[in-house]
């Protein structure tokens, strides 16, 4: 664990999380959620959970973003909140 | 068979799992095979679980180390009398419903048979695993399997099913996550995931607020999953819009298994001492259950569709079990456990009957049910039996669990619960006799039947449900009465011994 990095990244994670749920465009939300996952992955690497970080890198950053985009592609980008 | 018998605890999960995988694969090769694989898998597990129950009756507790690792390090399966019984019920219900709904499945998902059956069997796998496991985290994984397949089984229905499925998914995920968080708290304090191990480490942390929080989180998660009253909002939609084949297994099993898990958690993880004596939660929970019972009954009264009404009845039934369990005396806990068993079979029976009706008349408005007794006498007879059981009329099994619950309530001096139970029985009577009356006495729109209704050939194209469905329905109805008559045996030989002596 590297607490300095952890602290900064945790803050960033929280901000990107808030951004992901407040932004009014679903594609942006999906992308921001990707960013959230990136930083989550970083957080886990910082805590020494390499396998978890690896999984998050492949799943959160890659596949789930693609899934989100695919779903948004078939629905709508529009969102009221 | 001889040398496999020590592996029974693993087999009850592995057999359906492999059956599900084969079913799914078979769906792409030959669709006819799917049903046979699924049925074979479930039947085998039914046999295995029966064998397991038989052996656990004289062995007290069977432990099975998965992967051969000893307890706190590996995953342990722990079969005692209680979950042996629940396992048998699970497979019995799943198998019966599978057979009964063969026709409906083939008609609704002609191209996706393999997928449906695989999901179905996986769902059952998850449930049975949850019941059998002795590891708190393993329970979560299995919970997710059964939930995930459950969402899919519900979402494939028509009308509002996808939306209902999505809402169920949200609620279910919150519930499962809260459970996971609670386990995390426990892990943080004890460092273990094995239920027995946690229980043995727990006395050192009795005073800790973290433990209280862990308990609350676990329970809240489970309450969401079992749709206890204020958290029940997902259930009615999810259950009333899903296909009959899936609801026939989801409705009887999900809530009951969750209640079993609650019992397991309070007994085996948090220990009765902590759950009942230190938490001071009993009173609150029982009042919550009372609210669940009364509100469920009242909501059920307001419905005009059969399946939807039944969903509210389920909510009330959940209140029975939760309330009975949290009364915390021996009688009431026996009643709650017994009611898990009985309610599962009752719900199966009534949903099978409703499924048969819906299958034949393609609708479940009360208006559609007019004169149904003449067209489908046997299905409606089974429906009546199930209804009597839900009302709590002896000799059907519903009476006996209610008996225990009420006497538990009296023993605890909790008359609110007693009154709620009686009230709900009355409401159930009103509900079901309304339907029976419509089905029996409302004239069928064409040609009033005249004489000898039971002999006469059906006048219209509406006729009795297919034979397979009918046979299962009758079996379920008969088992309601059989269960009722053998209540004494079940209680003395299984449940009494299964409840920890501390209660």
């Amino acid at each position: 664990m590297i607490w300095e990095l952890d602290f900064i990244i945790l803050t960033l994670v929280i901000f990107s999380g808030i951004a992901a749920i407040t932004v009014k465009d679903l594609l942006s939300a999906a992308i921001l959620f990707g960013a959230y996952s990136f930083m989550m992955c970083l957080l886990w690497a910082i805590m020494g959970a390499v396998d978890v970080a690896f999984t998050e890198a492949t799943v959160g950053a890659g596949v789930s973003t693609v899934f989100f985009v695919a779903a948004v592609f078939h629905t709508t980008r529009d969102s009221k909140d | 068979m001889e040398n496999l018998s020590p592996h029974f605890p693993a087999l009850i999960i592995i057999v359906p799992l492999i059956a599900a995988l084969l079913t799914s694969a078979a769906g792409w090769l030959n669709r006819r095979l799917c049903f046979h694989f699924a049925a074979l898998g479930l039947f085998t597990s039914l046999l295995v679980s029966t064998g397991l129950l038989a052996s656990v009756l004289d062995k007290d507790v069977i432990l099975y180390r998965l992967g051969g690792w000893p307890a706190p390090w590996g995953i342990l399966y722990r079969i005692d009398r209680l979950n042996g019984l629940v396992l048998v019920v699970i497979f019995f219900i799943a198998f019966l419903n599978l057979i009964a709904n063969k026709r409906t499945v083939e008609e609704s998902f002609p191209e996706q048979l393999g997928g449906f059956y695989a999901l179905y069997v996986l769902f059952v796998t998850g449930l049975s695993g949850m019941v059998a496991t002795g590891d708190a985290f393993n329970l979560y994984v299995l919970l997710e399997i059964s939930s995930l397949t459950g969402y899919a089984l519900i979402g494939i229905g028509h009308e509002r099913a996808p939306l209902a499925g999505l809402n169920y998914l949200f609620m279910g995920t919150i519930g499962a996550s809260l459970y996971l968080l609670g386990i995390g708290f426990l892990y943080l304090m004890t460092g273990s995931l094995n239920m027995t191990d946690i229980a043995s480490l727990l006395p050192g942390f009795y005073g800790s607020p973290v433990m209280v929080l862990a308990f609350l989180l676990c329970m809240t998660g489970l309450f969401i999953k079992m749709a206890l009253f204020p958290l029940h909002a997902w259930l009615p939609n999810a259950y009333s819009f899903s296909p009959s084949a899936s609801i026939g297994v989801i409705a009887p099993l999900t809530t009951k298994v969750m209640i079993y898990v609650m019992i397991r958690m309070t007994f085996d993880v948090f220990t009765p001492d902590f759950s009942f004596k230190m938490m001071h939660l009993g009173e609150v929970m029982v009042w919550l259950a009372v609210a669940a019972i009364i509100m469920g009954s009242l909501f059920a009264l307001a419905q005009t569709r059969l399946k939807r009404m039944l969903t509210y009845v389920i909510i009330a039934e959940v209140g029975y079990m939760v309330g009975g369990f949290w009364l915390g005396n021996r009688m009431a806990v026996t009643g709650a456990v017994l009611h898990i068993l009985n309610d599962a079979v009752m719900t199966l029976c009534i949903f099978l009957a409703a499924g048969a009706v819906v299958y034949q008349i393609c609708g479940d408005d009360f208006e559609d049910l007019k004169g149904l007794f003449r067209k489908m006498p046997i299905s409606m007879a089974a429906f009546t039996v199930a209804a009597l059981s839900l009302i709590g009329v002896p000799p059907t099994c519903g009476f006996f669990s209610k008996w225990y619950l009420i006497s538990g309530g009296i023993a605890a001096g909790h008359y609110g619960f007693v009154v709620a139970l009686l009230f709900s029985s009355l409401v159930n009577a009103v509900l079901f006799f309304r339907i029976i009356e419509i089905g029996y006495f409302e004239p069928f729109s064409e040609g009033e039947g005249g004489h000898g209704v039971h002999h006469g050939p059906p006048a219209m194209e509406i006729r009795e449900a297919p034979a397979g469905m009918l046979a299962c329905l009758l079996l379920a109805a008969v088992s309601l009465i059989v269960l009722g008559i053998y209540t004494g045996d079940i209680v003395t030989r299984i449940i009494d011994l299964a409840i920890p002596p501390a209660i």
């Binding site: - | 009329v393 225990y404 006495f441 004489h451 209704v453 008559i485 004494g488």
Partner: protein, 493 residues
């Protein structure tokens, strides 16, 4: 008193149940009714065959299954149960015969269902009669309620449905809301539900608990015998007449009275009641019911409704008699079960026969009918004598004992009530007979050439009318059973 294990009570209960598949599956009506008769006769035979043993002081017992630990479906035949069982099973034969006449005469629909549920109801009735504990009693009581529901709503029209609903509401409501909790509390307090001759609640000290329990039991089981629980009964008169006969004379409401007596004697015990002075309370409730219902009966014009209100009053006699707690009063109350059954069933059969033959339901339309249907109205006369309690009919015997009982118990107020109600009974029955025989028939009578009802209708009512007269001269079997029952209950023997 010794107890022996015997399968007979179970057989007696099951005979009619076993007949049900036969009834459902038989193709022709004759076969179907053959089944009914066979079952009725078999049942009667089994019941009668047990009488000597019971009279010799033996209790027959059989436990079917232990459904809950220490609590099984137990059948136990004692004198009181025997008395009721004899009445019910003997009258079933008669009622079956009458049903055939009535149903065929009116060409009713759904006859199979009718006979099937009739048989079920009888099974349940015998189950109640032979119940060895409160739980079994409750079980068969519920079964009886559900089995009679389709009978009450037999006509399937709006009126039948609404009265069926009312019936279920009262019966189920009573049993679920009153009996079940009371039973559970009793079980919780005493740990047993087995009837004992002297009651098993003796160990409870709290008067208020006992009072609440007693009231719950009495109101829950009363079915019709106690006033606020009665209101379904007149409504249920929409049912076919044999059903009304069954309801009133044979099974259902009698079961209510029977249960109340069982509760008073078998659960609480006479000593306990006397110790806490609950007897007076029940007496008061019963006498209020008697007077009110008799007065209401006077105002009814429809014959069956008048009979219904009369039944309510008569049932309260039974309750009253037992609640007097005196030897003679209890004997009278129990005897009244039998006597009233024979009398009232005759009256109902007559009402049905009149309806079958003429279609007349109202008393005002029956002027001069006795000239056209002398046999029917003669029987009606005998039946009403029995119900009023005048000499050449069996009703006199029971009423005599009741009166004796009030004197024994020094409840002179009750004596007055009894006498007054007898007067009222006379006032609402005798005018019918009088007008039937001595008034000139109206115009309508001549136009539709009215004759007697079919033989199947007529024969049973003659049999029961004669039966009630015979019971006056030869009440021994019932009297001995009742005396024996009272003896065991009051601890005399």
């Amino acid at each position: 008193m010794n107890t022996i294990l015997s399968l007979k009570p179970l057989l007696a209960v099951l005979t009619s149940l076993l007949a049900v598949p036969g009834i459902i599956l038989s193709r022709s009506p004759n076969v179907r009714e053959g089944w009914t008769f066979a079952a009725a006769l078999a049942k009667f035979g089994i019941v009668v065959s047990m009488i000597p043993m019971v009279l010799s002081g033996v209790r027959l017992e059989y436990t079917l299954a232990e459904v809950l630990p220490g609590l099984g479906i137990t059948f136990r035949v004692d004198a009181f149960g025997m008395l009721f069982a004899v009445v019910a099973s003997s009258l079933w034969i008669v009622t079956s015969a009458y049903s055939i006449g009535y149903m065929r005469g009116l060409q009713e629909h759904s006859q199979t269902r009718y006979f099937c549920f009739f048989a079920l109801a009888l099974s349940a009735t015998l189950g109640v009669a032979f119940a060895g504990n409160l739980f079994t009693l409750y079980l068969f009581y519920e079964a009886l309620s559900f089995a009679t529901y389709p009978l009450v709503t037999h006509h399937q029209d709006r009126e039948a449905r609404s009265s069926g609903r009312k019936y279920l509401f009262y019966i189920l409501g009573g049993s679920i809301a009153f009996v079940l909790p009371a039973m559970l509390v009793a079980y919780h307090l005493t740990g047993t539900l087995d009837f004992t001759p002297r009651g098993f609640m003796g160990g409870i000290e709290s008067k208020s608990t006992l009072l609440v329990l007693l009231l719950l039991f009495v109101f829950g089981f009363a079915k019709a015998g106690i006033m606020p629980m009665h209101s379904w009964l007149p409504a249920a008169m929409v049912a076919p007449t044999p059903v009304s006969a069954l309801l009133h004379a044979v099974a259902v409401v009698k079961v209510g009275a029977f249960c109340v007596v069982r509760i008073i004697t078998g659960v609480f015990g006479t000593d306990l009641l006397a110790a806490f002075h609950f007897d007076t309370l029940i007496c008061v409730i019963a006498s209020v019911t008697i007077l009110t219902s008799s007065l209401i009966a006077l105002t009814q014009d429809e014959l069956k409704r008048r009979l219904a209100f009369s039944t309510i009053g008569q049932l309260s006699y039974i309750v009253l008699g037992v609640a007097l707690l005196s030897q003679a009063g209890m004997t009278g109350g129990m005897l009244h079960i039998a006597m009233h059954a024979f009398g009232k069933i005759t009256l109902f059969f007559c009402a049905g026969a009149i309806f079958v033959a003429t279609g007349i339901k109202h008393i005002s339309g029956m002027v001069g009918i006795g000239r056209r249907m002398p046999v029917t109205m003669g029987a009606f006369f005998l039946g009403s004598l029995s119900v009023i309690g005048l000499p050449p009919a069996g009703g006199f015997i029971s009423k005599w004992h009741l009166v004796l009982g009030t004197v024994q118990a020094h409840q002179y107020a009750m004596l007055v009530v009894l006498l007054a109600s007898s007067l009222l009974n006379a006032a609402y029955f005798l005018p019918i007979v009088y007008r039937a025989f001595f008034c000139a028939p109206g115009e309508a009578m001549f136009e539709n050439r009215i004759a007697e009802a079919p033989v199947w209708c007529l024969a049973p009512l003659v049999v029961t009318a004669v039966g009630s007269v015979v019971l006056f001269f030869y009440p021994q079997p019932f009297l001995r059973l009742a005396a024996l029952a009272v003896q065991t209950m009051t601890g005399g023997g």
